[in-house]
Symmetry: D2
Subunit: 351 residues, 4 copies
């Protein structure tokens, strides 16, 4: 049993953590902080949790967090995590951070992609970049884990086996991402106003999106050299879900069995990777619709007849595998629990 | 040719007025005011109008409005119209007001439904309540017209023939309304945030909605006495459109032909009323889907086998017949133009 | 541990049963029949279940069902259940039927509402009408249970306390229902074609809907006499969920505390009834959005200022509380399991 | 004035043609054929046209078409057009074909992409490939015009200026397309069933989509050599609209002004091309949401900081610029009418 706190619990990833943790057999939620909603009942903000908890939000208090928790999830906005994490680190607590603040290991990237000097560059290397499918053993022994961005993890899981096995031309990797509105967080803006957001296919940051930095960092490690990643995200008309369509160009003649081999070899027995490549049935390729609510990353691919292009598709729920699901998976590993614990639910279908 | 100004042109009804007026053969838009966006190009805010106009928003200036316009549409938020209308009235301009500020004729209703004392109660009676299907002659001669609320006009058009002909029990009139998100206006809130507004069926103000006051006022006149109206609106997952399902109880034995007769007699040749009651085809009853973008109010009905309940359904586009379309229709009547001018477009289908 | 079969497992309620039963601690799914998909893997049709089971659909075979199962769910189309149920009854199996075929206790109602003579009228009374909140003890001892229609259970749970306590005028009960597309089942038609079904508010069967028969049957029992029910369903733009807006007229002066008392008294400790009536927060009334995926029926109400109308709103997931969730709840009671088993998940939010 | 017939008028492109033509100042619709709906009123199938026409569908009859029409639109399914077109060609009628049957000029492509030998390969070259922005003069003098596929025209208009000016590496052109459900036509299937199609991001034909053939044909001509095109379409949750995200790699150092120059030079004064590249406002890039219902192709672009990738985005309404709008534009040119006639409407916003 682990006593956990959720720091920054009123947003969407915070709410998703609470949903998962309140039903987790080995976790007890002792604190959920929110400055804005301090003393309000959690179920007033996360209405789906009505009947599940009488917990009230509390204001942030380091002593209280330290005494009541063994492990904390920090699901604060980017830039806010780095203000509380150094003091949390000093208390010896286990930390799973969901923000971008400790993902990048080269502090220069923060200046380039986020526009500021990172205030604790020494801490960056102490956080394990928490994609369990890439470094499970490291996470098992870690006290400090930083969870990947939603489009980053979805892209990385699709591309890692290809890059690792040097199957594709690493100078022309295109990731065309499609994401639901929950990826924009809980704060209303004109861009997320239902009348403006409904039925759009809205390109945003078609070049230089921040998640690119993480993808380059992780795939560059697997490639053994710096590589460019060309990602363009699009807002589409759904609430949850991401599809990454990765357009790649084989670096040598490739066949379908070789591609299968690369994927199966890279993910020999991952509980949350499913391969979807099916001539029959309606969902023959990955589709966020059938992963929403689950912690899966579904991966599929198609090769041009002349093998000149390899299209890899990956689908996740941005709040699950793309955020809180991976966070709980990391906790499970850090605590020695079954990796699947609390994450067993399949998607609803249809929904 | 009439020179028109749109006062409060950056919201959804303002944008819809501009869309209609920029293509209207007899209107020239000379001014579009917006405090927030003064000097910004109109097409930056109303992106659908890119390529249609180089007009820029301007700040509100009474002299400029008076000198450049023959007629103004005031599409300001409720409460803001009444601040500019008295001075506009004094300039002799023709005015079509889209706010609620001059709809109710009994100033006590403003206290009851809107929570404030009306500052110019004398002006209330000078504005014609602008439902052309109910008082076309009055509008033709009017200088000041106040347009009805979107759910009000949709309900009133459905119920007026029944009330006028004393066919229903006026103490049990239930209007269950369903409306798209554009009805909430352009200002983002958590209630209109895509993630929260998508796939809802959200009751709001299930009792005492403000539009009830207008419906009671207008139907009460037709009934010859005060009558209660029981309206409950629901937010549903679409952008435009209203369906009012009116549940009524016949006050005497009724047959389908008698109901037809009441409707056809009341609306003998209205260009924007369509009757929809069709055993074949997918859209056998009114559905907002096939009126969106048009100025129609589609009306249909169904009678219980034992004639104990009469269900009347009416569908409009809340920004067209429910607001700006009716406003332009009123302008056409006030100016002696063809009532249909600029309002001829059918709905897109499918869309 | 109970060995269960799902007869008619390829549709939406069948898929939902499988989703619930595959993760149910005390159930083992031994058979899932489908004539159309015999020998196909279940996960090809219910793509969300990929990775959860290697079960294949099988064709219907009475001997096989009898030998492999202790309890069967029949989730066949209306009219098809009655063809297999009599033989299943004879085998002594426990049966939970999700069709309409054994819901109505007066066989004349089948002629009136479904257009055919019921072939086994004697069996009708042997099936318990399975709303656990109304007759839990009866279900506990039952071998044969028939589950209610989705709009029926949602309406009945909202209205039962009022009718039982004689708080409302039973001659003017209006139920205005809004339902998602999954309620229409898995078979594609032009009415469910995405281009035609998207963004509609489509009235269908505004009078005499078949579920009316069940509501009248159940509420009539509580009222002690036959009462009319005026229900009108509407298709709205979502996949799962029902909202029933019940417009009722108090039969005597009523206050909010009296209404609370009726509801709390009627449902003293029901695990799947939640009351939602909250001045703060976005979901202050029931909304299907925050029950989807869960087995809750959320109930709330609002009273006119002059107490002349009482609006009761109830929300369910039509595939859960409205079908398969209630079916599993019934199984739990019949088998002596914890009533909540396998039904603990809250809704996702946002989704 | 031109007398027009719509051959195959009951589908979505047929309905859209009727919507445009019934309000076109210089066209009179004399025939609308549909085998399935012969003698049915057009407004029963195209419910948005209720009140606009009393036309009834008629069965196909060559003599009748020849005597009543000057020009016909053939909006039949692929493969069906080629059965009627040869006889229509012989009558001397002007023909605008909306199917794929006469788009490809090399008959071998039909075998490769459509799987059959083309029965009238000689006719292929007699049809002008009807993208007015590419060959206006040819269309003006043409009697036979074949309209492009929806994703083809959207891609070609985005890429033509780059290919023509040799600005990009033609061996790595990726088109990632997103399309609404109306692109799948009017026939219901499980893939278009609302419950299955809602909230998807569904890749289909990620390699070798048929529209690729047209894009290769047209861009190849501009390039002066055969070039590969890597297109992958995705079904997203909207009814109308296409966004093509074209990921390209500059073949030489490029700057934003050079790109502008290529586009403005290629489209010096096209009425239906709008450039959208705006730092302010919500719709700073093309988005189908603000072209739906209009005949525009909106085009915008973004260049990587190091100019290593150029992303071009183009948005159309698949039933307008992607089909029936272009068809009417072609008719206007063929008949010597104003190119804009009947196509002036902007998009609704919001919608």
């Amino acid at each position: 049993m682990v006593r956990v706190g959720v720091i920054g619990a009123s947003g969407y990833t915070g709410g998703e953590l609470l949903r998962l943790l309140l039903l987790h057999e080995e976790a007890e939620v002792t604190i959920a902080t929110s400055r804005q909603y301090a003393e309000e009942y959690v179920y007033r903000i996360h209405s789906n949790l009505r009947g599940y908890t009488d917990l009230q939000f509390s204001d942030w208090n380091l002593d209280e967090v330290t005494s009541k928790c063994d492990l904390v999830f920090t699901s604060l906005p980017h830039g806010a995590s780095m203000k509380v994490i150094p003091s949390l680190v000093n208390t010896g607590l286990k930390i799973v951070d969901l923000s971008a603040d400790y993902r990048l290991k080269d502090s220069a990237d923060y200046l380039k992609y986020y526009g500021y000097e990172h205030p604790n560059p020494d801490l960056l290397k102490k956080f394990v970049f928490g994609i369990p499918e890439l470094r499970k053993d490291e996470i098992r022994g870690a006290r400090l884990v930083s969870c990947p961005g939603c489009m980053a993890v979805t892209s990385i899981l699709a591309l890692a086996p290809l890059v690792k096995n040097k199957l594709i031309d690493t100078s022309h990797i295109v990731v065309d991402a499609k994401i639901g509105s929950s990826g924009a967080g809980v704060k209303p803006t004109i861009a997320t106003h239902h009348s403006e957001r409904f039925s759009v296919v809205r390109p945003y940051k078609p070049v230089s999106h921040r998640h690119t930095a993480e993808i380059k960092q992780e795939l560059g490690k697997l490639a053994g050299s710096k590589i460019p990643i060309y990602m363009s995200p699009h807002a589409v008309n759904m609430v949850r879900g991401i599809l990454c369509t990765c357009h790649t160009f084989p670096s040598k003649p490739l066949t379908v069995p070789e591609i299968w081999k690369a994927y199966r070899g890279f993910y020999p027995e991952e509980p949350f990777i499913r391969f979807v490549r099916d001539k029959r049935g309606l969902y023959g390729y990955p589709d966020p619709k059938v992963v929403v609510g689950s912690n899966f990353c579904d991966i599929g691919f198609e090769l041009e007849d002349d093998a000149s292009r390899l299209v890899v598709m990956s689908a996740t729920d941005n709040l699950m595998k793309g955020a809180s699901g991976t966070a709980v998976q990391n906790m499970n590993l850090m605590m020695g629990f079954n990796e699947r614990m609390g994450l067993e639910a399949p998607a609803l279908h249809p929904a």
